[in-house]
């Protein structure tokens, strides 16, 4: 059973995660210094996010290119941010595919640390809200 059933659910959680990250001055400064922009293309369900030092864009209207493009399933993204799947393992097994300068990817990974710290809380909160909404409507849709 997938962690997120719909694009809306995934966009809500991953979008919130990166909006919080974008408010972290250290994160945006390091992105700017390294000239980094990132496209995250989540699958199953589709959820596209673009992160730059100035903006976080979500949905189908994100730019066609970025310094780094990361493609993975929403379940893989969930496991990564929860800390139950290591990035090197995910890459080695093909669960995560990355295009862009590997040197830039190596710079990106350490500055994502706040996302690992915040994601469990964001995901748990979203799950709680979803379950409450479902129970008030008489069960899961």
């Amino acid at each position: 059973m997938p962690v997120y059933d719909t694009t809306e659910q995934a966009e809500q959680v991953f979008g919130e995660l990166f909006r919080i990250l974008a408010e972290d001055e250290n994160f945006t400064t390091r992105l700017r210094e390294s000239g980094l922009t990132v496209r995250l293309l989540h699958k199953k369900p589709d959820c596209n996010i673009f992160v730059s030092p100035d903006d976080v864009l979500i949905g189908d209207e994100i730019p066609e290119s970025a310094a780094i493009t990361i493609k993975m399933s929403c379940d893989t993204a969930h496991a990564l941010w929860m800390g139950t799947l290591m990035m090197p393992t995910a890459v080695a097994t093909g669960k995560v595919r990355i295009r862009g300068k590997v040197a830039k990817v190596i710079e990106l990974i350490p500055i994502l640390q706040p996302a690992f710290d915040r994601y469990p809380e964001i995901a748990a909160s979203a799950t709680y809200r979803r379950e409450r909404a479902e129970s008030s409507m008489g069960g899961p849709k």
Binding site: K43, K71, M86, A92, G94, K95, R97, R99, V102, E107
Partner: protein, 369 residues
């Protein structure tokens, strides 16, 4: 400038010119410092190690070319490393392998993404004194079985690691590991006790002054970067032959004016250029894709290894007895060309990897995510 001197910038992205400048500096170092000593190094005692050349290379940045700038490196990527390897190998492949093996030892630390490991091991390479690393895969019984996925289940007596309290205990015996005798740390590939090699190897960073480690003597032996080494070996043979055939007069004309010789030289230079294009293409893919591609590096190495032997053989043939006498240097080049074919994948191992890719479904399919 002859066509052999041309820079291949058109084949990769180098907007700041950093890679080209590094390549020029390495070429100068290789030609002025390494090449004049290549024969002497080849004939020196088995356990001799040219620390002075390593120190000069370190000052140029050869021990930290691949490391990102925030870890004191040059951040040149695999393309930059491969071009440097070609230059070094055109002077002496043994020296190229010292630096190449160090980068192989660094790669697992970099790719681990673990900032604690990186902070512990990577700053070692930006000090005043040269520090080397190594990558330990090969074992007495498990050689190629450890690098061909279809064969890993057959790997026997592979080194193991298990946890004891707060420590890990590693047991095993690695062999023919380039730099093992002189490296500060090794990236050692082992199986986690209780699992089979088929389920994947674990990489452990091992400081080589740890108690319980015994090192053998310096060994004589040290995929995109080895393809570059083979290309460098072929280029050395080609340049030697070009010089000789331009000067040597037979039948009233320089050798190069004879059709048979011209044909050989033309074929040799075509092969060197093709090998370089293949390794640059492969290195560029490795610099821009994760997981790292399997197909392109294997194709580049298979081709470069083969043409290095062919070009070295043709050079020996063109130079007659001078090609065979050790003092002229080509005998070493021919020997080196066979060595490069073995490490980091024999033609047979590469053929299995390439053919497996030919029959595999497109790995870019989103359903596999």
């Amino acid at each position: 400038m002859s066509v052999l001197e041309r820079s291949p910038e058109a084949n990769f992205d180098d907007p700041q010119g950093e890679v080209s400048r590094f390549r020029e500096a390495v070429r100068k170092f290789a030609r002025e410092e390494i090449a004049p000593r290549a024969l002497e190094l080849d004939q020196q005692a088995h356990d001799h190690f040219a620390w002075d050349l390593v120190q000069e290379g370190h000052q140029l940045g050869l021990t930290r070319a691949m490391l990102p700038p925030h870890h004191g490196g040059l951040g040149l990527g695999v393309v930059g490393v491969c071009l440097a390897m070609e230059e070094l190998a055109a002077a002496c492949p043994g020296v190229a392998l010292i630096f190449g093996a160090t980068m192989l030892g660094q790669a697992p630390v970099l790719l681990s993404g673990d900032s604690r490991l990186q902070s512990r091991f990577l700053p070692l390479f930006s000090g005043d004194e040269a520090v080397l690393a190594c990558n330990a895969v090969c074992e007495e019984e498990a050689g190629t079985d450890l690098v061909i996925p279809q064969s890993t289940r057959h790997a026997r007596n592979v080194s193991t690691i298990h946890r004891e309290g707060a420590e890990y205990v590693l047991n095993g015996h690695k062999r023919v590991i380039t730099n093992a005798a002189v490296a500060t740390f090794a990236s050692v590939f082992v199986t986690l006790e209780g699992t089979s090699p088929e389920s994947g190897l674990t990489c452990v960073m091992v400081p080589l002054d740890t108690s319980g480690i015994t090192r053998g003597p310096v060994a004589d032996m040290a995929r995109s970067s080895v393809a570059a080494v083979s290309t460098g070996i072929a280029r050395h043979a080609l340049e030697t032959a070009v010089e000789f055939c331009g000067q040597r007069v037979q039948g009233g004309a320089p050798l190069r004016a004879h059709q048979m010789t011209a044909r050989k030289l033309a074929e040799m230079t075509s092969k060197v250029d093709a090998a370089r294009l293949l390794y640059l293409h492969s290195a560029n893919k490795v610099d821009n894709e994760l997981p790292a591609p399997e197909y392109e590096p294997a194709v580049a190495k298979l081709f470069a290894d083969r043409i290095a032997i062919e070009v070295a053989g043709d050079a020996v043939s063109l130079m007659g007895s001078r090609g065979f006498i050790r003092e002229f240097g080509l005998e070493k080049v021919l020997r080196d060309s066979y060595g490069a074919r073995i490490y980091e994948g024999t033609p047979e191992a590469l053929a299995l990897a390439i053919t497996d890719c030919l029959y595999r479904e497109d790995s870019d399919d989103d359903d596999d995510l």
